[in-house]
Amino acid sequence: MAHTSVQSVDEISLEKIPSRKSKSLWDQAMENIFRDKMAMTSLIIVGIYALISILSALGVIAADWAVEVGPSYAPPSGEFLFGTDIFGRSVFTKMIKGTEVAMSVGLVAACISVVIGVTLGSIAGYFGGKVDEFIVWFYTCFQSIPTIMLLVALSFVMGRGLVSMYVALGLTSWVNLCRLIRGEVMRHKDREYVQAATALGGGHARKLIKHIFPNVSHLVIISFSLMFQTAIKTEVILSYLGLGVQGRPSWGTMIDDAKLELARGVWWQLGAATLAMMIVVLSINLLGDALRDALDPKLKGK
């Protein structure tokens, strides 16, 4: 008996949704972003980077990065777009191959940290009490460890390579998102729409995932873009320190090479790596800003 009544109420609420008049947050955001030229350019650039890294991962381009194409340290010219490195390999191809590493690290690390941050943050915020205390205690302790030390320790434990890089960066960057989500969920959990869901007999999981999460998801998008570029930068730093990916080009190892080469006047490796990194990090930052402007309800109408 009770079962049927819940269903019928659900049907009523379902009927109500199509009848909304105002545009949703998402529609509005999309509209704003498509209007913003800077954001669109950034989006296109990030798209190009993504395409390059997919092609490179599939082996369509830059598969021959290890091949000697000319003499050692040939300067940039028509033949060698960004010159060659110590072994006569094309710096341009290495830069492309480095894009694959950077983008994949950014994507995977940001995904890992979003999953951890959102899960822990919403559990803490929603359930409160002892659960909340424990999670807050955990991430406070966790964050008191200097990030770079933690990264170094993790890369020692798991060995070096792309996978441990993903995990290490993912595990070290979730705390801020976790805090944000916890705070937002706390604000939302006593709102009328959640109370309504409770009244209708919705379970915890349903309320959290179906009702609260869509209302805090804009934070996830913004944080994701910020974590994406932080992960790229951190990967470069770690590779520069010799703790990053091994046996394949990365922007960080290119800069590490350049450290010694600069005294010989060989600047092109440093130039190529920093240029590639700067463009993508800048684009993601601009895109993240635009997303925040578009999605943050507090900034609406400005």
């Binding site: 290890a66 010799g242 091994q246 046996g247 450290k259 005294a263």
Partner: protein
């Protein structure tokens, strides 16, 4: 109140220093050196790195030293009166100690006056090296060599206090000036260990007075005095006023005679009044200081090599006009890539040879050593007996075709069936590049390599624990004897001994065992050469290069040459102060 006093002390100290520098400018005979690492301290038994042992060698002295102007390196008496009398069986060494050698004046002696050095001081100093409580870092040098010393060490490692008065059979004084060593078995390299700072003479009064602080209060018999050692960027030594009569050598090898090294022959040492050692860790500031004349000589930093040295290996005009000159000399060392011989895979000699042949040593010399090193043919470097002049190993690359044939013969045509081989190397840009280079070279014949960078201590741990397949490393000589290199391949010497690759060849082991108890002789050299050929033929390692030192020196620095054994060198160096004034104006 207390603060005020200490401030006052500091002020006095500073003005004292200013006073010193002024006085120093008057005489002008100050040697300015630079070192790239901080010094650990001034205790001989802990001086296990190049920098600390050089500092220790300015204040302390040992029984023997290397003749400053003779090559090949020759041992001569220093605190000993003459070379020791060695018994027939080569087990007993009897030294007469030089009479009238005084320790530096110090408050730990009665009336603050340094007392005379006696044979008992060596017994004490060497026991200190063996002291289980102190854990001296040079113990390996005498481990198992001196009769009764290991037993003495073991006995006191379990007792709370070490008794230095207990007589050890192999380390005794016969009278005030006579010292006798008895060895467990013949060890012809024994004398070299008496020229190393680990066995230098310290006075027990000083150790007793300063205790833990002894590390910072060096009191020796040497040419220079350092009242207190402080961990600063500048260490200043002054000439010892009561240094014994020790003269600049009057004999020299031909190369030094012609180069004018005998100008100061017969003069009382040390030749300079003061030695200032600057600790400059970064290579670029060190380089700039040298160019300004604030440092007398410098090893050329890798990054400045191209600007200082022309492709034909002469100094560039810019520096010649400033009176700077270039010294090139081979150093006694070898770089190599070792196979882990514990693995069945690398017991296959054809595989090892194939990989050795695939490696292009000429190109690596060009890429990583500015074409200045000598490709190694086998394990013994040039300059010591056992190295074979103009010998070319038949397994020295690059010869990719032959390498491919051998790889097929080894059972892995085109590399099929081979696992991915790991290559461990230290972290650091150049090491990583060398690793990438090895990987690239091996890829030519189908051998797949994975490069792993490790921090230096971790790499050593991995080698000791046998967790490596291939690894890249280098070895520098402890003393000028091929034994020091050949022992790297001696089977029983495997990890944790120096033979990290675990190479074990019964024939080689037998030859090594025979030669290790022989005195220097043509027969021993013949054995060394035979082992050297085996080491080339069997390719237990992929040999790298013997490096060369490129050193620049100013014209006003006299008698300087770069040597593999720098301990005590400062006493022979001289500064032409008049010339220095002129040169400094031009710089």
């Amino acid at each position: 109140m207390k603060k005020f006093t200490s401030l006052l002390v500091a002020l006095v100290l500073i003005s004292g220093l200013i006073g010193c520098t002024k006085k120093n400018k008057d005489t002008g005979r100050t040697l300015n050196l630079s070192i790239p690492q901080e010094v650990k301290g001034m205790d001989p038994i802990y001086a296990n790195d190049r920098y600390s042992s050089n500092e220790v060698g300015r204040v302390y002295e040992g029984l023997l030293e290397y003749h400053y102007l003779k090559r090949p390196y020759t041992l001569v008496p220093n605190l000993a009166d003459a070379m020791p009398v060695v018994s027939e069986d080569g087990l007993t060494y009897t030294f007469k100690i030089r009479k009238g050698v005084m320790f530096h004046d110090d408050a730990s002696f009665p009336n603050g006056k340094g007392r005379e050095l006696v044979a008992e001081d060596f017994v004490y100093s060497i026991k200190r090296l063996a002291d289980p409580k102190l854990q001296g870092l040079g113990w390996w040098l005498l481990d198992g060599k001196v009769k009764g010393l290991n037993e003495w060490r073991k006995k006191y490692s379990e007792l709370p206090k070490v008794d230095y008065t207990e007589v050890v059979e192999g380390l005794k004084t016969l009278d005030k000036y006579t010292l006798q060593f008895k060895l467990n078995k013949p060890f012809p390299q024994f004398l070299y260990s008496l020229a190393m700072p680990f066995t230098f003479a310290v006075a027990k009064e000083v150790v007793a007075k300063y205790g833990q602080e002894f590390l910072n209060h060096p009191v020796g018999t040497g040419p220079f005095i350092l009242p207190v050692f402080q961990q600063t960027k500048k260490i200043t030594y002054v000439k010892s006023p009561n240094f014994r009569k020790k003269l600049y050598p009057t004999e020299a090898s031909e190369e030094f005679k012609t180069a004018g090294f005998l100008e100061d022959a017969g003069k009382q040492l040390p030749l300079v009044d003061k030695v200032v050692v600057n600790v400059i860790i970064e290579s670029q500031p060190r380089w700039l200081n040298f160019l300004k004349g604030k440092i007398d000589f410098i090893g050329i930093p890798k990054d400045n090599f191209d600007s200082a040295v022309t492709p034909s290996r002469t100094l560039s005009e810019e520096y010649i006009s400033k009176g700077i000159s270039l010294l090139v000399n081979p150093s006694l060392d070898i770089t190599y890539t070792a196979f882990n011989h514990d693995l069945k895979l690398f017991q296959n000699v054809d595989l090892r040879r194939a990989m050795a042949l695939a490696y292009d040593v000429v190109k690596s010399n060009e890429l990583f050593y500015n074409n200045t090193a000598l490709p190694a043919q086998s394990v013994v470097p040039p300059g010591i007996a056992g190295n074979i002049k103009n010998y070319v190993s038949s397994f020295r690359g690059p010869n990719v075709d032959e390498a491919k044939k051998l790889l097929a013969k080894a059972g892995y045509p085109e590399g099929k069936g081979l696992p991915i081989i790991t290559y461990d190397c230290p972290s650091g840009t150049v090491s990583r590049q060398i690793g990438e280079y090895v990987k690239k070279q091996m890829a030519q014949i189908g051998v797949r390599i994975k490069v792993i960078n490790n921090p230096w201590p971790e790499l050593q741990k991995k080698i000791t624990k046998r967790q490596v397949m291939l690894y890249g490393i280098a070895w520098g000589a402890d003393y000028p004897d091929a034994e020091n290199f050949l022992q790297l391949l001696y089977g029983p010497n495997k990890s944790p001994g120096a033979n990290g690759s675990g190479y074990n060849n019964p024939e080689f082991n037998k030859l090594f065992k025979t030669s290790s108890i022989m005195q220097d002789s043509p027969e021993r050299t013949a054995l060394y050469e035979k082992m050297n050929r085996i080491a080339a033929d069997q390719a237990p390692w992929i040999y790298g290069v013997h490096r060369q030192n490129f050193t620049l020196r100013h014209s006003f620095l006299k008698n300087y040459m770069s040597t593999d054994f720098e301990t005590g060198q400062a006493q022979y160096l001289n500064i032409d102060s008049k010339l220095k004034v002129k040169v400094l104006e031009k710089l």
